[in-house]
Symmetry: C2
Subunit: 179 residues, 2 copies
């Protein structure tokens, strides 16, 4: 049976040797064989597993989740995949907000009006709400929408989010708060 050394296996997938060493250490992917000298030899099966790992990693699933998914591969728990998909939605929204902030700041810079002037109370409330992690983002929008829908709208616009998108974000936030 054909086997691959660690570096060759790594190169197959554009990974570094250290990554495979790490995967071995944490028990995510241990090569099925060793040479008498202790060299790791990856079989075709190992490579196949690694391929799956790469695909799953590609979606930024955590190593733990990947382990779980690969363990129960016959019943490929779509739960974790769905969870990650939802997270991605949140991340997209978070990125849009970041984009908005930066655009606003750049506009300020361009027109020489100095640093961005975002209403302090907005920010304080915003940052206080959840620390702005990805789950927090969701809760924050929902909370903001619930407490002050108009301020929420204005806030989104102030970030440079177009009217249309702002309405979509708000609707989404309302769904979150009632589900």
């Amino acid at each position: 049976m054909k086997t691959y050394t660690i570096s060759k296996t790594a190169r197959l997938f554009g990974l570094s040797r250290s990554t495979l060493l790490y995967y071995d250490r944490i028990g995510l992917l241990s090569p099925s064989r060793r040479t008498p000298a202790g060299y790791r030899m990856y079989t075709e099966e190992d490579v196949k597993r690694l391929e799956r790992i790469c695909i799953l990693r590609q979606t930024s699933l955590s190593i733990e989740d990947i382990k779980t998914i690969l363990r129960s591969e016959d019943a490929p728990s779509s739960e974790l995949l769905e969870k990650r998909l939802k997270e991605i939605g949140e991340e997209m929204l978070a990125l849009k907000v970041k984009q908005g902030i930066l655009s606003t700041m750049l506009k300020g810079v361009a027109s020489r009006e100095g640093p961005p002037k975002v209403n302090k109370e907005m920010w304080v409330g915003m940052l206080r709400a959840a620390g702005m992690d990805n789950q927090g983002m969701e809760r924050w929008h929902a909370e903001f929408e619930r407490r002050a829908p108009e301020a929420h709208h204005e806030f989104l616009l102030s970030l440079g989010v177009p009217e249309e998108e702002a309405l979509m974000i708000r609707e989404w936030a309302r769904q979150v708060s009632f589900s």
Copy 2:
């Protein structure tokens, strides 16, 4: 002049005490005063600086970049902001691809066709290309588009990216490769 203790300052912005300790240690934000017992006291000015830091952090700018931006606050180097904005664009694209992968996998799961069947050569070539970091993403699409535009298109569709979006991504990839 009014001052705040470290925990109160942290709470103002939804941060933890350790974060402020960390910011002090790395010289990002050191409180202007100390009590005789050595307690950090944050003045209004410090709080103002922290507010800016939070806004900038909110865009995931690195601490180093934030330091630079705050250092030259009269000429607020839009360079770093633009750099980050570009990165965000790449991150959005990366997320879309992840989304596509996950959707495809879920579709596979739902129709009980087992694990996702993405052509191996595609993935290998893809992963080999750049390791799929955010800059790699850009290079990879450009490379794929250059070498096999049709396969690129098919690949995007296979990820569940809608036709329209696929065309946009490809155009963008072509621009990258020639700039």
